[in-house]
Symmetry: C2
Subunit: 544 residues, 2 copies
């Protein structure tokens, strides 16, 4: 059996792992990664499908462990390669995917599976296990082939008091361990964090306590797929006589789906829409909103800037960020907290109250998993290098031999042969960027230009020359954008460019490319000496 991650190892996001046996493939998850600062203008980053696109018909199916974007977000793009790919997921996962593919005008072939179920998918014998996470209805998957048994956790934690009573199936993992697990792919996100994640249930009393004391508006922001978090907010609101309005498109949509599937219990008459909410006294309403990551266009960010159409924050309002802070979003989140504080709101967040718990197993829980499964080989997944390595060390502490821990980043080929997993090669895996409507045309060269332009702007020099003599037929047009607010900033380079053009003409240079190079050199040197800056220099020489 062969295992290749096309995303999700060495990074947090775009999870996608390909399992291959006897020429047939099975894919687990197909998510997106959100861009960082050095990927400006990019909307999403996809797993790199090149390693499978020529063999897409050999894929037996796609298993989705749960409905988060970093596990399902790239499915519409995979479906472009093969619209009839069979997709296996739980009820909630499939419902979220169906909503997403509708926006892409796709109708994928969705097959519902559930915990405890065993199902043959071509060459692969699958078994699904209940796991808990920060979204309902998450699954782990065991993949049995004649070459061995793999267990993939997906995202997992071991909340022992889950709100919906649906425990991670540790007993099932033990039974599978008795049978023998050859390769265990384990969520690494929190492997560096010692101890255990507090039960989700313990947030309820904290929320209750916060809401009880507020005489004005309460706004709670959290992830739009965190049904159990929202469930506890609804309960607290009801106890304190507040009606609830959902704010933000994805919150409204996802909670609608969750309620329809019976995963979110909504007490009769509790929900109101924004128009009704605005007619209620401030002490009788609670808003559940998106925007907990400081997304600039979200409702919460607009409130923090005082730009929200319906909700003007004032002294005495309380905003609860019942959410984590995804690394890289700190500045944005702090910006929202400061904006709200400046307007007088009391902001409650995980830094000053226990209003968030993680969805990923900490080190203590991972030890339970290793001891239940007793795997022969371990491959940490879902994480950056520091997480993978910490996770591997936990495996070793439970008795897995260090040489059976495979730290494999995206694209590394891992072969399981005679019960031993090892790295045997590498397929090419790059970043595939989605920018607006198109996929892949924005690459590293465009991004590096954007970084230069974003840092220093550009100076454009346009020269019209006589194509036979190379003589400039008018004075050069020189302008900058993103360079200076001073309209005279470029004045003193004009004579230098004119001198250079006189020189190229006197040397009989008529080649527009050579003239452009000469102009670029003069302007580049001038700007470095005068300003010590490095804008992009863009010469255009037009022959007439």
């Amino acid at each position: 059996m062969r295992v290749v991650a096309l995303g999700g190892i060495g990074e947090v996001g775009r999870n996608m792992t390909v399992f291959e046996y006897d020429g047939r493939m099975l894919i687990v998850d197909c998510g997106v990664l959100f861009p960082e600062d050095d990927q400006p203008g990019v909307d999403l980053i996809l797993p790199d499908f090149r390693a499978i696109e020529d063999r897409i018909d050999e894929v037996e199916g796609l298993v989705l462990t749960h409905g988060h974007e970093d596990h399902i977000g790239a499915v519409p793009f995979l479906l472009r390669l093969r619209p009839d790919l069979p997709i296996y997921g739980s009820r909630f996962t499939n419902a979220l995917l169906a909503a997403k593919t509708r926006e892409h005008r796709q109708r994928p072939k969705l097959i519902e599976v559930r915990e405890g179920e065993r199902r043959r998918v071509g060459a692969f014998d699958l078994e699904f296990f209940a796991v808990n996470h920060s979204i309902p209805d998450a699954l782990a998957v065991a993949i049995r082939t004649p070459a061995g048994v793999v267990l993939h956790t997906g995202d997992i934690k071991l909340d022992q008091l889950p709100l919906d009573g649906r425990l991670t199936d540790l007993a099932g993992f033990s039974r599978l361990g008795d049978e023998g697990v050859d390769l265990f792919c384990v969520d690494s996100t929190n492997a560096e964090v010692p101890g255990f994640v507090t039960p989700e249930r313990d947030i309820g009393p904290v929320l209750d306590d916060v809401i009880r004391r507020v005489g004005q508006r309460v706004i709670v922001a959290c992830f739009a797929s965190h049904v159990h978090r929202v469930q506890q907010v609804l309960a607290a609101a009801q106890r304190h006589g507040r009606r609830v309005a959902f704010v933000g498109r994805s919150m409204v949509r996802n909670m609608g789906i969750a309620a329809e599937l019976g995963l979110l219990e909504v007490p009769e008459g509790l929900l109101v829409d924004m128009d009704q909410a605005s007619t209620l006294p401030e002490s009788k309403v609670l808003f559940v909103s998106t925007g907990s990551q400081g997304e600039p266009l979200s409702a919460l960010s607009r409130m923090a800037r005082g730009e929200h159409r319906q909700i003007s924050i004032r002294a005495g309002d309380t905003v609860v960020l019942a959410s984590s802070m995804i690394p890289g979003n700190e500045t944005a989140v702090f910006g929202v907290v400061n904006g709200l504080t400046r307007l007088g709101a009391n902001v409650v967040h995980q830094g000053n109250a226990k209003v968030h718990v993680s969805g990923h197993a900490s080190a203590g829980e991972l030890l339970y998993l290793y001891n239940a499964v007793r795997p022969s080989n371990v491959m940490p997944v879902h994480g950056e290098w520091k997480h993978l390595r910490a996770n591997g060390e936990l495996a070793v502490r439970t008795g897995v031999s260090p040489e059976n821990v495979v730290i494999a980043e995206d694209g590394v080929v891992v072969d399981l042969v005679d019960g031993k997993a090892s790295r045997t090669g590498r397929v090419e895996v790059g970043h595939v960027y989605v920018d607006g409507l198109s996929v892949g045309d924005v690459g590293e060269s465009t991004l590096s230009d954007r970084l230069v332009l974003g840092e220093g702007g550009f100076i454009a020099i346009t020269v019209v020359v006589d194509s036979s003599t190379g003589r400039a037929v008018s004075s050069p047009t020189i302008s900058g954008r993103g360079f200076s607010d001073d309209p005279k900033a470029l004045d003193s380079v004009v004579p230098l460019v004119e001198m250079e053009l006189a020189r190229t003409e006197s040397e009989g240079i008529t080649d527009t490319h050579r003239i452009a190079q000469a102009v670029r050199r003069v302007v580049g040197r001038w700007v470095a000496d005068t300003y010590r800056r490095r804008p992009m220099i863009v010469p255009t020489v037009i022959p007439v």
Copy 2:
């Protein structure tokens, strides 16, 4: 007495507060702020001097509380307004400033002051108090005028076991409190953090324990001005038979100054330079390096990328980040940690070992300060809104009346009249950007262009037209930068531009500005429809 902060309130950085009495002014601190993501290409942000520049001769002096960049970094720019401004600072502060101003070819008038000293500076009667912080020789300053007594903490904490035995002078603050403090300006950085900062001294045994167990190279990164941290690293290195090399220009420079002033004790023969270090066995050397904030050009970042000329990280090396993570630097720091981990290094940081303590008083310590000083009025300084508000609440809990807590952001004018401080107005305070050699020519318009260019690049269209008929004399030149890697990406817009030029010609339009507008509209609409992107559209119409 009038108080106006020109920086440092509502933000973390560029601290500068102006005190005015009877037409004479005293400035406390003059630091820089480091730019955020929405200020691309900017090197530094200065306090806005406009409120004082016309009255610079009425300034009696500048008091520097300590030598960190956010307190002294803008001094060279203030000196451009008045080179002979008297500057009062402690020995170490003045030495760091002298090194800085030498780079600017300035020779400021530095006057050394020390704790316990009382000194008249024009209309102001100053008294200096020892405080401890993450740099030696920090001072608080009391300013007595006939209109009242102000106490400004600068950056402060209350380490009760300081490495150099120099305690924050709580007794002095109490004595001043007996006399009566009318306005207390207090460091807010850690006001949200409950409890007390662990003594700096407690890091020593942790470092010792880490270094003891390593058989290969050890690299410790920390702030280049954190003399006491480095002192403890030197002690641990010596105990384990390692020589020490300083890496990074500012580390070498600052530790040289500290050693010269007797603030850093360097055991005979302990230090080696990089060349000597490379000849020693790996178990006999320790590097103390800059780069703890993930700065991309630092030695540590180069090691993490495998690009450092002298130090190639390999499995078994240990890197200690004995530093905080300044908000906004998380992604960069995690990038360095992952890079080092990927190369096999063991990375020790504040997340997995007690190798850093803050330099700023937590809530518990701030309560000690309020109870010692018993101020009539409080003005929280040094912090974002959330910090200021948390600090104000601490003051109230010690008995300060809420209406005597003044939360004043940059530019707010606070007047102390008859023992009551209140907000009475506002002076204009903007961001003053330093980009390369020039100050102030990069403003909000340039930054907003940079943000657009950085997100989407640009499309330039150059057209040469006959100035009398408006007819295009050659086909338009269309090119993009930061737009697409696909060389054909813009092909399909060319005929649209040609059609538009035919239309403007047929309507007899010869005005180049109107032609440019028409071209911009066509290309903008096309790119939005085709790509759903928003590059900058840059038309240039040249009449011949």
